[in-house]
């Protein structure tokens, strides 16, 4: 009895620690970022189209950076969501057991490849390929970055979605086949709706990785702070800006606060993203 108490207390402490650390991070990012608002109004930052942090006078418009992050994440979603869910369905429902036992661990191995390796691949191989394929003058652009982020997000989406689809009880499928539904009808009308909440979680996890990815976009996105007019324009996502400029920003300067402000914007994005996903997921469960 006593041991139980000690154990639950210990677990409780760990849980509290995780929460404290999280709030600590949020607090420090916002408290370093918000002082920027003393010098520049929020509206001017969010809608400003010029990012010249080190010039005199400096301008801190982050609209091009926000557009860049959203664009590359969107492109990566178009690429990775169908591919990821498609592979998940194949692995869970179509592939024979021996193939699944080989492919699933390989898929999980792909998640563990460091992003700088993807970046190097994108810089030296993929960018040249995209230049030739689409006859564009520049290989380092939003499209290349989006494709690369899509490749990185696909294994995450596929792996988590596969778990969800695979864990749909066999009895439900048997019942469906039993009343005369085809394999496709069973998949489309029974299995996928039952695994919906898990699939949505998979997409959120995958796209969170895409929007937060830094090293790859530094190497591949081009880095120009412009509002993209075409998917083949070079862009400068939020994460790349923080990582590339933090080294130069003097502690406590306006530039320094601006970079933390970008961090806060990025965090807000991810939270909104997660809350939306959670809402969809809850609704999916409720509908069942």
């Amino acid at each position: 009895m006593k041991k139980d108490k000690i154990f639950s207390l210990l677990v409780y402490l760990f849980a509290i620690l995780a929460i404290v650390v999280m709030f600590g991070i949020i607090l420090s990012v916002f408290s370093e970022g918000l002082p920027l608002l003393n010098s520049i109004p929020l509206w001017a930052i969010i809608t400003g189209t010029e990012w010249y942090p080190t010039f005199n006078p400096p301008s801190f418009g982050i609209l091009p950076l926000i557009c860049a992050s959203l664009l590359v994440t969107f492109i990566s979603a178009i690429f990775s969501v169908p591919l990821g869910i498609g592979s998940a369905i194949f692995l869970a429902e179509v592939a024979p057991a021996y193939l699944r036992n080989i492919l699933k661990p390989m898929l999980e191995l792909l998640v563990a490849i460091p992003s700088v390796v993807y970046g190097l691949f994108g810089m030296t191989v993929l960018s040249g390929f995209i230049m030739r394929l689409f006859k564009v003058p520049l290989g380092l652009n939003a499209f290349t970055a989006g494709i690369l982020l899509g490749i990185m997000a696909t294994p995450t989406i596929a792996s988590v979605a596969e778990d969800a689809i695979f864990s749909v009880p066999v009895s439900i499928k048997e019942a469906s086949i039993g009343i005369g539904a085809t394999k496709f009808e069973t998949l489309y009308h029974i299995v996928l709706p039952a695994a919906k909440s898990g699939i949505i979680t998979a997409i959120i996890l995958g796209l969170s990785r895409a929007i937060g990815e830094t090293m790859t976009v530094i190497m591949v996105a081009g880095g120009s702070p412009i509002i993209p007019h075409s998917i083949f324009d070079p862009v400068r996502p939020l994460t790349a800006t923080i990582a590339a400029e933090m080294g130069e920003a003097a502690h406590g300067s306006l530039h320094y606060h601006a970079l933390f402000f970008i961090g806060a914007v990025l965090m807000t994005f991810t939270y909104v993203f997660n809350i939306l996903g959670e809402w969809f997921r809850k609704r999916a469960i409720y509908r069942q």
Binding site: K3, E50, W51, Y52, P53, T54, F55, N56, P64, M123, T124, S127, G128, M131, P137, L138, G139, L140, I218, M219, G222, G223, S224, P225, I226, P234, R236, A244, E245, M246, G247, E248, A250, H251
Partner: protein
């Protein structure tokens, strides 16, 4: 139940002991080795790496770790006391000196090599010479087509610049941009290597790198008619030349002094040359 519990706890204790012992042991072996940590300019990176390797071969008891990051990053790390040597391809700024003194760090400069910033284009580009003013117009976005500069080459000019944390960028800004803002369309690369790769891949691009990064896949062009050659940079005739520095906290001492002396020695300066830069003597 009790027995299980005791075995469990003793097992846990044992692993903890082993683990702690492992860490302690590792620390002990590390303590007997002297460590130098270097960070900063990606321009100096090849010199620092070559010299570190040669130095470690001669002194097996010394471990040197070399990182890039950019001159600004290196100097910042020196001020935060997380590195022993900061590589910088520009001089330390007033604001940085002030911050360093506040933190009790006294930056000491040693010039280790000279370098020129070469302006590079794709090998298929026929252009051979460019003036500083034209270069400024290209990077500020006033000239956007190659047709304006030469009749043999067409296309939209893609300027490739370095990020603001780069010393190479600061030198370029000082001598070429002269305070003007670069076009937002210009690419921002995070290292010299990235500029070189991008220009080698992109036919209509133009960029700038430290001399050490020149290779056959890119073409360097003359500025105001002057070639970025060793003589022209040594004599200061080439407009985009500069010195490369290593900053330490106070006058270098002990093993750090030994390492810097090694770079300044005849053998070290040979490595500077091998890395593609210009010896100071």
């Amino acid at each position: 139940m009790l027995k299980k519990c005791i075995t469990g706890i003793s097992g846990m204790l044992l692993t903890t002991l082993l683990f702690v012992n492992g860490i302690y042991g590792a620390q002990k072996t590390q303590n007997s080795k002297k460590e130098i940590i270097i960070a900063g300019s990606t321009t100096i990176l090849p010199i620092a790496q070559l010299c570190a390797e040669a130095f470690m071969k001669k002194h097996p008891d010394v471990v040197i770790s070399v990182r890039g990051g950019g001159s600004g990053v290196g100097i910042k790390a020196l001020i935060e006391k997380t590195v022993d040597i900061a590589d910088a391809s520009r001089e330390i700024k007033e604001s940085e000196i002030k911050l360093a003194l506040e933190k009790g760090v006294n930056p000491y400069k040693t010039t280790i090599a000279k370098d020129g910033i070469a302006v590079i284009v794709h090998p298929e580009n026929p252009i051979l010479n460019i003036t500083i003013d034209t270069l400024r117009d290209i990077f500020t976005g006033k000239i956007i087509l190659w047709e304006k500069l030469t009749k043999d080459f067409k296309g939209r000019i893609i300027p490739v610049s370095r990020d603001v944390a780069s010393g190479t960028y600061e030198v370029f800004e000082k001598y070429v941009l002269k305070g003007a803002r670069p076009a937002a369309r210009a690419l921002m690369a995070s290292s010299n290597k990235q500029v070189a790769i991008t220009v080698a891949q992109t036919k209509t691009s133009i960029g700038y790198v430290g001399l050490g990064y020149l290779n056959n896949s890119i073409k360097s062009i003359r500025i105001n008619g002057i070639e970025p050659s060793v003589e022209n940079i040594k004599s200061g005739k080439y407009p985009l030349s500069r010195s490369l520095y290593m900053y330490t906290n106070g006058k270098p001492e002990g093993v750090i002094k030994e390492f810097i002396d090694f770079i300044l020695s005849e053998e070290g300066q040979k490595l500077v040359k091998k890395a593609g830069f210009i010896p100071i003597k």
